[in-house]
Symmetry: C2
Subunit: 225 residues, 2 copies
């Protein structure tokens, strides 16, 4: 249970995110591009993490997390999301400003700190981007009945419950158009030509959103129009 380097923690976290999506082995190149390193560095680290029994790794076949590796990855994600919540709720950061700082804060090693923070924030269930915050035991309650805005039916009203935090530019765009968490939208029309979508936000404002935008917004159904 000795502690891991920032690098090792970042690898575990990223393996978790990637395999969460695909549920299968994570590729070396996939990791390399997410971690902004070269494939050869990934191979090195996977060998080390494999020695430490944090990932299962077979040469040329990719890797996935062991139970212990996953446990650790989830705790880092818990820290990341709690810190983001702290920054937004207590220090009035904008949701687009918190990720980079949280990337640093997530490596602070103190169980007491993170549990105190959790209590201080009143045990939040979701972070500023709508992602679920794992609890102390690593349990993650995913929001059910959440779909991509891309897939929402026309003539329905939906509520934004999650946005992909990966792109700073997206977050700024959404902020700018008042498309924040909790905002309700009417899905007016979809355009097959470019997979864009027109939505109404508020009483009047009508916007056309590109696929790039709608596939990165999570919504839940509210009602038929």
């Amino acid at each position: 249970m000795k502690s891991l380097s920032h690098s090792e923690e970042n690898y575990l976290k990223e393996i978790f995110h990637l395999s969460g999506l695909t549920e299968k082995r994570v590729s070396t190149n996939g990791l390399a591009s997410r971690l902004n390193t070269k494939a050869s560095s990934i191979t090195d680290m996977l060998q080390k993490l494999s020695d430490k029994k944090l990932v299962e790794y077979v040469k040329y076949k990719g890797c996935f997390l062991t139970e212990e590796g996953e446990r650790i990855a989830i705790q880092i994600i818990r820290k990341h999301r709690l810190w983001e919540t702290f920054l937004v709720n207590k220090l009035s950061f904008g949701w687009e400003e918190v990720h980079d700082v949280a990337e640093q804060l997530e490596h602070i090693d103190s169980e007491k700190l993170i549990d105190s923070l959790d209590r201080f924030l009143n045990y939040p269930k979701f972070d500023p981007h709508g992602d679920p915050i794992p609890d102390k035991d690593g349990k993650i309650v995913y929001r059910k009945s959440k779909i991509k805005l891309l897939d929402a039916a026309t003539n329905s009203r939906v509520e934004i419950v999650r946005v992909n935090e990966d792109s700073l530019a997206l977050l700024k765009f959404l902020e700018r158009h008042q498309l924040t968490l909790g905002t309700e939208l009417d899905v007016l029309e979809k355009f097959p030509f470019d997979d864009s979508m027109s939505v109404r936000v508020g009483e009047l404002l009508e916007i056309n959103l590109s696929k790039k935008v709608t596939e990165n917004i999570g919504v839940k159904f509210i009602s038929k129009l």
Copy 2:
């Protein structure tokens, strides 16, 4: 203005602390013992910091901080003390628990974060151990008329305004005997044999404090008894 490694920051901070005490050049061995490294490692790092113009270093003669080095050191100390204050005031940590976590948090690199924290805490002037918190511009307001309890006159009443945070054991000892910041004491008698001192705290409780204790407590004079 590119950012420094944790190690480099720790060296600068420690040079500041050591030269603050003596106001003269800091020795290699002095640094080594405070930083828990070997003298040879100190020499290596001093050469590097000297190249970066953060310390003035002359072989065999020790070092001191340049203006830029001092500026950086003070900002790290500011972060350290603000985080300690946060942990005690907002997350209800005990004053003996905060230092180690602050050693990690002080390296988080975000000016916005630290300024927001400062505001959130209401611009505190002193940390949980009574040490002054440098402001955004690096100005440190030292408490004047502060003396060591060791040097306080007998038959006077004093108030504890600062304790040396270096020893966890001391902090626990003080906590245990209710000798916290703001506590008022009557200095009853000094014993030259071992430089111990008897004090009264509250109405009844009388304690004998060793030199080891009294030289690590800062007090200010309240009144004659």
